[in-house]
């Protein structure tokens, strides 16, 4: 009843009404600026849509950017500033270090936080005010590994990862999974520096280990540079990567070298899910490029805040917390949500479908196309099986 009357009320009372404030604590400047830019654009779109549709329970949404300069101490002060501005919820940051730094602040303020970070530790801190906007790095590498072991049955598996929290975490997850579930080990594993231009050393290690399959957990640029060199020396191994390796930037920079690479994608433009496709098309038309999955994550942050409030039927944060754990969200519940079927467990960890895509070079662009759909680990869809995408 309230939801249908909302447009009438908000149209009438307009600016005099109280606003729903979301603080965007994000990497607007500094090392993470290119990723933060996607969230900023996503907020512009999402908040505009929500407000046009009547807002949330009658209140218009208002957001403000609190730049954390891609630094941990500034993330803390930016979060505090957002809270004193009256934010109902905080969105961001993206870098895991920044999130780990400011999580205690939102926890103490009992304020929901929608983070873009992928580090596995974040949802295991016992913090009930944190929600993740994409499947964490652990899940992604597990799904990739499971698919590779089932479909490719490699004899010798190697791994290349980037030398930071994103890559090292994935390597540890991979080692553990291989040992516990498949009773095997990596034949080689090497860490590369961020923005490293030359991969001769890594290629040598792969070659001398006779790996027939290489798992990649590199960032976009490193992936592109690696593919180029791998192609040049004629590397014979099967290459499969997490989403960063077949992302828009990796394809744009690697061009024909990315041809034939397989990778996981959750919210990529290649994901055959209505919400992703809609957003990807919008971004392509507006900005001339395909969007990075950070765009979808930022968009979902807004809609998840909306969902929580609507499920709680009020602006009570504790009810929000109660309703948003062990909850299954679909477009039936929140029409514009991206991802199709999202399940949030008791830790705020996201479980949703991922897709196994293959990149093909068509002479002009390297494009990823989803081949398999991989079900989530928890939630109502967890008993489904991997199937081929039509």
């Amino acid at each position: 009843m309230i939801l249908s009357l909302a447009p009438v009320f908000s149209a009438g009372l307009g600016a005099a009404q109280e606003k729903l404030r979301i603080g965007l604590v994000i990497e607007q400047t500094g090392a993470g600026a290119s990723l933060g830019a996607y969230w900023i654009k996503a907020f512009e779109l999402a908040v505009g849509e929500v407000n046009k549709g009547g807002g949330v329970l009658g209140r218009q949404v208002e957001y403000e950017i609190f730049d954390n300069q891609s630094k941990a101490p500034v993330s803390v002060s930016a979060t505090q500033k957002a809270l004193s501005w009256g934010a109902f919820a905080i969105a961001g940051p993206i870098y895991s270090g920044n999130t780990l730094a400011c999580m205690p602040v939102t926890q103490e303020a009992k304020t929901p936080q929608m983070t873009g970070s992928e580090n596995w530790r974040i949802t295991l801190q016992g913090d009930k005010y944190i929600w993740r906007m994409s499947t964490g790095q652990t899940q992604e590498i597990q799904k990739l590994l499971n698919w590779v072991m089932a479909e490719r049955k490699p004899k010798a598996l190697g791994m290349l990862y980037v030398n930071n929290d994103f890559g090292i975490g994935a390597w540890e997850t991979a080692k553990k999974l291989l040992k516990e579930k498949y009773n095997t080990e990596l034949v080689m594993a090497a860490a590369c520096e961020q923005k490293q231009p030359d991969y001769s050393a890594e290629l040598k290690k792969i070659k001398e280990s006779n790996a027939d399959t290489v798992l990649l957990n590199l960032l976009e640029e490193e992936s592109a540079m690696f593919y180029r060199q791998a192609k040049k020396v004629g590397l014979n191994a099967f290459l499969c990567t997490v989403n960063t390796g077949i992302s828009v930037d990796a394809c744009r920079l690697g061009k024909e070298a990315v041809d034939g690479v397989y990778g996981t994608s959750g919210y990529e433009y290649s994901a055959p899910e209505a919400g992703c496709q809609r957003l990807a098309k919008y971004y392509r038309e507006r900005y001339g490029e395909w969007p990075d999955n950070e765009f979808m994550k930022g968009y979902n942050a807004v809609y998840l805040v909306k969902t929580g409030i609507e499920l709680a039927k009020s602006f009570d944060k504790e009810k929000f917390v109660e309703k948003m754990h062990s909850v299954h969200i679909t477009p039936k519940i929140q029409p514009n949500i991206v991802g199709g079927s999202l399940y949030y467990d008791e830790n705020g960890e996201l479980h949703s479908w991922d897709y196994l895509a293959k990149v093909t070079w068509n002479g002009k662009e390297a494009l990823a196309k989803a081949l398999f759909a991989i079900p989530p680990f928890k939630g109502p869809d967890s008993d489904k099986k991997t199937f081929v995408v039509k």
Partner: protein, 290 residues
Amino acid sequence: MTDLIQLLIGGLSIGILYSIVAIGFVLLWQTSQTINFAQGEFVMVPMFVMVGLHIVLKLPFWLSFLLTILASSLMGYLFEKLMIKRLLAGGVIVIVIATLGLSAFLRYGMQITWTPLTLFFPHIFSTEPIKIRNVVFSSEDIWNIVIISIIILLLHLFIKRTKLGKAMQAVAQSRETATLMGINVMQIITLVFVLNSILTGIGAIFVAPVFFVRYDVGVQLGLKAFIAAVIGGFNQIRGALAGGITVGLVETLAAAYISTAYRDAFTMILLLLILLIKPEGIAGIREEAY
């Protein structure tokens, strides 16, 4: 064995790129005691200019290149006239801070006014793999090494043999004496700064296809080039060549045979060793005691 040769080629190809950026460090320090912490950005800016002219405006390559070199020299000229002139009297630390500020200014300026994203730059030379007995390289690798080596050697000859070059050497050894000999020291210093920018502008088109065009590409380039200059010999032009190649080779070999994660640490260990054993650098000439 083929592995080793492959690694050497990899290290050489990267090392030569460090070399072309490193020359500037050497030149500037020699003539004006300037440690230019913005050297990497002096390569980054022409990279973006090239992208703007050649990719966005679709001007022909040679025209874009010429205009880029022009723009780069202008940048070097302005740098000297507006900043260095005033800062020379302040001492090393003042110049360090000022160039750090300039580095940040150029970097964030580019990030905000153009894009924080990484841009693609087309290869000038063919990257088609050429295979000789299991060792793979491309003509780009060869051309890079040959052309940059020639540039550095030509520069070396210029400094050693021509009158202007000798005037630069004189200024580097002692500004007071050079003035007494009738050399217009300020003019020479301006010339050296412009020369540095021309070199970084040329370096930009070699670096861009390999490193991609990014607002913060100057950071890693600048640091590696600085290390290369010191290792190679801060008082010799060919020191830049020796240093760059050494850094490239050590990085690659150490990563391949020891540990890829601690790659950067090995370069530092090498630096320490050189400073302990031969502080004037691999190709340097011993000066008076430090």
